[in-house]
């Protein structure tokens, strides 16, 4: 085991069983672990000027597109065809219910659903970057159906 430089005392532990049955005798020094904190000031890099700004919403636990989302995406397809050089970021999100890692994966699936629709409609894969924030960046705070339905989304930007 890699002994920490910061262990002020080496850990010693003696367990002696005395002759007169079951008396436990121990001697131990308390260890002291140093802690160094790190601070990150860097913000995630802002993407290009906003060309498309659409949001599509999803049902609870689902990542399939609704007919309403498809309407919104038709506009995005048109825009991308007129601007074949732009790269769009598809950012998936989930509502707060369920575990954080599963929601991260669910957000990613939602972003992929949007990507797959756009690709099926002639957009190139390399024009799309899909990622997820899971439940970490809610649009609407609050624990009710209305807030949750706003948070289950893919932001296209």
């Amino acid at each position: 085991m890699n002994k920490s430089i910061n262990t002020f005392f080496a850990l010693t532990m003696l367990i002696l069983l005395s002759a007169c049955s079951s008396l436990q005798v121990t001697e131990e020094s308390v260890s002291n672990q140093a802690v160094a904190g790190v601070s990150i000031s860097q913000k995630s890099t802002a993407t290009q000027a906003v060309l498309a700004n659409a949001v599509v919403y999803f049902e609870y636990d689902q990542y399939t597109l609704t007919s309403k989302s498809i309407q919104a995406l038709k506009g995005v397809v048109g825009l991308m065809k007129r601007n074949p050089k732009i790269i769009l970021s598809l950012e998936g999100h989930a509502d707060e219910r369920g575990t954080r890692e599963y929601n991260l994966a669910l957000g990613q699936r939602r972003a992929e659903s949007v990507a797959n629709y756009l690709i099926a409609n002639g957009i190139k894969r390399n024009q799309l970057v899909s990622k997820s924030y899971g439940e970490e960046r809610p649009l609407s705070l609050g624990s009710n159906d209305s807030a949750w339905s706003k948070n289950r989304r893919v932001e296209i930007k």
Partner: protein, 427 residues
């Protein structure tokens, strides 16, 4: 050792320290009755030391400590224990100790007596710096717990958790925190304006792994606690999340999104070799290792809803086996330290999320918590306590319970607190 899960309500608000405030909400219904004669020494040391020892033992829920006022007339002279008197008081055990202060060190000596058997069962000494009073007290209470309860104590272990301080317009500050198991001695390991999730301990307690969104994309980092040195575990340009250390510390299981879908991989840290463990159209994530390191648990959506699967790592091409069947949402599972069962997040029929446990030898699950959105259970290394995240009103905080039925809360002074991770034994 397993006592009844249902217990009497015992409200014992305790002193607060650090940024988390420990509040014991329930005790066990069949506790060990113990008298602790306050350890004598200079008040500056003896007061906090005695307080921390009592709080540690109270928090386990398995101890009923005799009130200090009742102890005054019962002084021990020359190590002569009047077993008859202690027995009449209904005590099972007696603890007596002393504090010896040197120039730059403090020694704590204590003895434990079994009243029924009329004999001394332990004689111990812990020593350290005068600045380490809380640690000395934790080591002492762990010794007392071990001798009486028969399993190792966890007062000297530590917790990791995420703290989010929300401010107007989404400029939250996220912090990865380290604290003693009672919430005291809180330290910031990482502070960032982007989310931090999924903290995990290395088995030796020297390092942490976590997911940070600082680059705009979820990535797993490993950070050395003492030096603050940190690195991104893989230079791949893909989302990486859900780190879990193998029990020998040599591997990290991870979720990679390189095909656009969450799949589980195992990374050998020595040479960064990646081995793919799942290959499925559905989501696979939240891996965790068995105590022996021969199996992993993970959450998969392959059946149409999140369920828990187990994969044997020793058998070549073994297939993942589904092990959760009740309900439509079972996730984030971890093995109990003795592998007697698993603990996980379960969605009940009313749509609420609870912490649940399933023992191997039982064919039903036990729902252990009753708030609305309970999440992220983490089991103490002695297997006897669980800490997890709850939401009360719109405030998230940590709560815990022991398998003997005691429970406690650790509300934060500031912001939201969630995703606790319990360290291994650190002594």
């Amino acid at each position: 050792m397993k006592k009844n899960i249902l217990l009497s309500l015992l409200f014992l608000p305790l002193a607060c320290f650090g940024e988390l405030f420990l509040e014991i909400t329930k005790g066990s219904d069949d506790p060990f009755k113990v008298a602790i004669i306050p350890f004598a020494g200079s008040e500056k040391i003896s007061k906090p030391l005695n307080e921390v020892i009592r709080n540690d033992l109270n928090r386990t829920g398995e101890f009923s400590l005799l009130g200090t006022k009742l102890l005054l007339p019962l002084i021990i002279e020359d190590g002569d224990i009047n077993y008859q008197d202690w027995s009449l008081l209904g005590m099972d055990y007696l603890v007596a100790g002393s504090i010896l202060q040197g120039q730059s060190s403090v020694d704590v000596n204590y003895d434990i007596y079994d009243i029924q058997k009329r004999k001394k069962i332990r004689s111990s000494k812990v020593f350290g710096l005068p600045s380490q009073i809380r640690q000395l007290a934790h080591y002492t209470s762990d010794g007392i717990y071990e001798s009486i309860a028969g399993i190792k104590g966890i007062a000297s272990t530590r917790l990791l958790y995420v703290n989010e301080i929300k401010s107007k317009k989404f400029n939250s500050n996220y912090r990865l925190m380290l604290a003693d198991s009672d919430g005291a001695n809180e330290k910031t390991l990482l502070s960032s304006s982007e989310p931090i999730i999924s903290p995990a301990w290395s088995p030796d307690g020297q390092k942490v792994a976590y997911v940070s969104f600082e680059t705009g994309l979820a990535k797993v980092y490993i950070q050395d606690i003492a030096t603050g040195k940190r690195e991104s575990v893989l230079s791949k340009d893909t989302q990486i999340s859900s780190p879990a250390w193998s029990p020998d510390g040599k591997y990290l299981s991870l979720t990679l999104y390189q095909d656009g879908n969450a799949e589980i991989y195992i990374l050998r840290l020595r040479d960064k070799t990646l081995t793919r463990m799942t290959n499925q159209f559905a989501i696979d994530t939240e891996s965790s290792w068995s105590p022996k390191g021969n199996k992993i648990l993970f959450t998969s959506g392959r059946s149409g809803s999140p369920q828990i699967y187990e994969l044997n790592l020793r058998r070549l091409n073994s297939k993942a086996k589904r092990i959760s069947f009740e309900g439509t949402y079972n996730a984030k599972a971890a093995y109990l330290p003795n592998e007697e069962g698993i603990i996980f997040v379960h969605r009940s029929r009313d749509g609420l999320f609870h912490i649940a446990m399933k023992y191997k030898k039982e064919n039903f699950i036990r729902i252990l918590t009753e708030a609305k959105m309970d999440e992220s259970p983490s089991v103490a290394p002695n297997g006897n306590m669980v800490i997890y995240g709850i939401t009360e009103g719109d405030q998230s905080m940590l709560a815990g319970f022991s398998l003997s039925g005691a429970s406690f809360k650790l509300p934060a002074a500031q912001g939201e607190v969630r995703e606790p991770a319990w360290s291994n034994f650190l002594r």
